[in-house]
């Protein structure tokens, strides 16, 4: 079932949490709501589930306004961040709850519970209690419970947030596989870029209650629409300069900036892996001094300082390139940015990144 969110706004005690949010999600898509904590993504999910009421705007499921339908009537699958399993019920009773309150016949409940527990690979745990399960198992019970009534929409709030790294990795792949099997329109909330990119068809980036950008992961990463998106999706070096007639200038370097019009001060963003390091000065490069060299497994991170640039610069190299350069702290090298993003230096807007201290 498709989901349309139209101009939804919400404030708690006068404090705006969502500001005019509009998103279209076609039937069967798996979408990630990605953003720092406090950006409003969980509130949006709760509005979709019917647990909160939007101050303005509307939500449509399959073209129908759901404003008059309560959480109980929406038949939406919702997986809570901490699962919210019924602690006094067995796994089977948890999964069968939605059918039981609908007064489904007992054999039918049993058959459906068995089917779902096989789907989440927990059929041998049916008589255990939530506290006897591991985090990953609880997560899967919560998912099976949410799917019991075959909802057309599945909402997941930080589904992997409370799990350790290895289990999270496994569950992500498993959730993606499950979605490909069921094709239920799904939205999951996350603050983890990697998670969003790995699992979702499309990513909705949110910041301070607004949608910053919507698109497939690769597109969002390659063409960030705003400085926020640039900064939120991984490490980035920021240079202060100015733009003039489609060109950006930082010190004596010059970059193409086709989207920048007129003359203004500007910020030039460069990803650490988009910078080449040379021993010799080349055209389009600038000098910097190596401060630290950190081996991070396959990649190597080099921290440098450059004259006229406040703060540290970060460059990411592969191990072979580092070996060829044999960098040691104190070396003076030349940095040549390969790809840059230029954004006019507008006044700082309210921004969940700064608000949450990230």
């Amino acid at each position: 079932m498709s989901i349309e969110i139209r101009g939804v706004s919400k404030a708690f005690a006068g404090h705006p949490v969502l500001r005019d949010v509009s998103i279209d999600i076609p039937d069967g898509e798996l979408v990630a709501l990605l953003g720092p904590s406090g950006c409003g993504k969980t509130t949006l999910l709760r509005i979709l589930a019917g647990l909160e009421v939007a101050d303005r705007g509307e939500v449509r499921y399959g073209g129908q306004d759901v404003a008059t339908r309560t959480a109980r009537e929406r038949n939406v699958g919702l997986v809570f961040q901490h699962y919210a399993l019924f602690r006094h019920m067995t796994v089977a009773d948890n999964v069968g709850f939605a059918l039981k309150v609908r007064k489904a016949p007992r054999p039918e409940i049993r058959a459906r519970v068995d089917e779902l527990l096989r789907l989440v690979q927990l059929h041998d745990q049916r008589d255990r209690y939530p506290h006897q399960l591991s985090g990953g198992q609880r997560q899967r019970v919560a998912l099976a419970r949410a799917l019991a009534t075959s909802p057309r929409i599945l909402l997941l709030d930080e589904p992997f947030g409370a799990l350790d790294a290895r289990v999270r990795q496994e569950l992500r792949r498993w959730l993606r596989g499950l979605h490909d099997e069921l094709h239920v329109t799904s939205i999951f909330v996350t603050h983890d870029q990697e998670e969003a990119f790995e699992v979702a068809d499309r990513v909705v980036l949110m910041n301070a209650g607004r949608v910053e950008q919507v698109g497939p992961p690769a597109q969002v990463f390659e063409n960030p629409a705003s400085p926020f998106v640039m900064r939120f999706l991984g490490a980035v070096n920021v240079f202060h300069g100015h733009v003039d007639g489609g060109r950006a200038f930082v010190h004596d370097l010059e970059f193409a900036a086709p989207s920048a019009h007129g003359r203004s001060t500007a910020h030039v963003y460069v990803r650490p892996h988009d910078i080449d390091v040379h021993r010799a000065a080349l055209p389009g490069s600038f000098a910097a001094r190596v401060v630290r060299v950190l081996a991070l497994g396959a990649a190597v991170r080099v921290e440098l300082t450059a004259p006229g640039h406040a703060g540290a610069l970060e460059v990411e190299l592969d191990a072979r390139r580092t070996e060829a350069l044999s960098l040691v702290p104190g070396d003076v090298v030349h940095l040549a940015p390969r790809r840059v993003r230029v954004f006019p230096a507008v006044e700082r807007q309210s921004d969940s990144l700064t608000a949450s201290g990230l």
Partner: protein
């Protein structure tokens, strides 16, 4: 999970005295090393001795007196006092009062706890404070309030009398006074517990399609059942043992408005010491039952909380 933490902390305290005699037997040479947070031995022993003396003089001695005095004339005399028609009437009334007051207060307590923890509205803190009122005022005042409201010269007294309803110096008054004095027990037990549990499970039930009643009966109530039972036990103990409030409204009419505590007092003031102690021993028995029920509950709760604490960190 502050509840789990505090119950574990309580376990520590309970476990400590068990370890004490062992350390004493082991002798000075092989004494177990003092824990960093433990007080020096003299302080420890002085505190333990003080607590034990206090307990012995205030709890053990009176308990012993009640039992010894109750059985001084032998079991026959004890039975005679207990089986006396007035005593039997007092037992019946006490049971009747608790059968009426306890379910009423359990229902009220659940409703109050629900409204105090599941909704946010102006005046919520006032409600919570008001629940505590009966704990704050002397039971005698509670009894007097009942008289002022329902007595012959009270606000509603004349109207009630005109309709042939007698409250003060009759059974309804005894029940009313008891209900008033005991109503905080259940709510007080439930409110912190329900607050700590949060509303997530109820929200989950709602999204899964449960109605308000289904949420309450299938999710909320099973989750709070131990706390509720605990509150009911305390409420029952107080309902059966209440003296002050009941004394004001009952009029001490033998065989009619005398509850067990009032009957004990009557017998005692008539110098029927042995009979007074015999009836008192029934109340003592009630205390023992309450205490063991409470302990059993604490134990089950602790084990279930310990299981809950074993859940992986959230």
């Amino acid at each position: 999970m502050s509840g789990a933490a505090s119950s574990l902390a309580r376990r520590e305290v309970v476990a400590a005295p068990d370890a004490v005699p062992l350390a004493g037997l082991a002798g000075a040479a092989r004494r177990r090393p003092r824990r960093a947070t433990e007080d020096p031995a003299p302080v420890k022993w002085a505190l333990v001795a003080a607590a034990l003396c206090f307990l012995a003089s205030l709890v053990l001695a009176p308990a012993a007196v009640v039992l010894v005095e109750a059985l001084r004339g032998g079991f026959g005399l004890w039975w005679k006092a207990v089986a006396d028609p007035d005593a039997r009437a007092a037992i019946r009334l006490t049971l009747l009062v608790s059968v009426l007051a306890v379910p009423l207060n359990a229902a009220f307590g659940v409703a109050a706890a629900w409204s105090a923890t599941r909704f946010r509205y102006p005046g919520r803190s006032v409600l919570v404070a008001l629940i505590d009122l009966p704990f704050g005022v002397s039971p005698v005042i509670s009894g007097m309030v009942t008289v002022f409201l329902f007595g012959a010269r009270g606000w509603f007294g004349p109207w009630l009398a005109a309709h042939g309803v007698r409250v003060v110096f009759a059974v309804p008054g005894v029940v009313l006074a008891t209900v008033f004095v005991t109503f905080p027990f259940v709510a007080r037990e439930l409110i912190p517990f329900m607050e700590a549990q949060g509303t997530e499970e109820e929200e989950a039930a709602l999204v899964l399609g449960a109605s308000g009643w289904q949420i309450f009966s299938r999710v909320t109530l099973p989750n709070v059942k131990w706390s509720l039972l605990y509150g009911v036990i305390l409420c029952n103990a107080r309902a059966m043992g209440e003296f002050g409030a009941v004394s004001v409204v009952s009029g001490h009419i033998r065989g009619v408005t005398n509850t067990l505590p009032l009957h004990v007092e009557n017998l005692y003031s008539e110098y029927a010491f042995q009979a007074a102690f015999a009836v008192a021993s029934l109340l003592f028995l009630l205390a023992a039952v309450t205490l063991s029920a409470k302990k059993t509950l604490e134990w089950t709760q602790r084990t279930s909380r310990r299981d809950a604490a074993h859940r992986s960190p959230r």
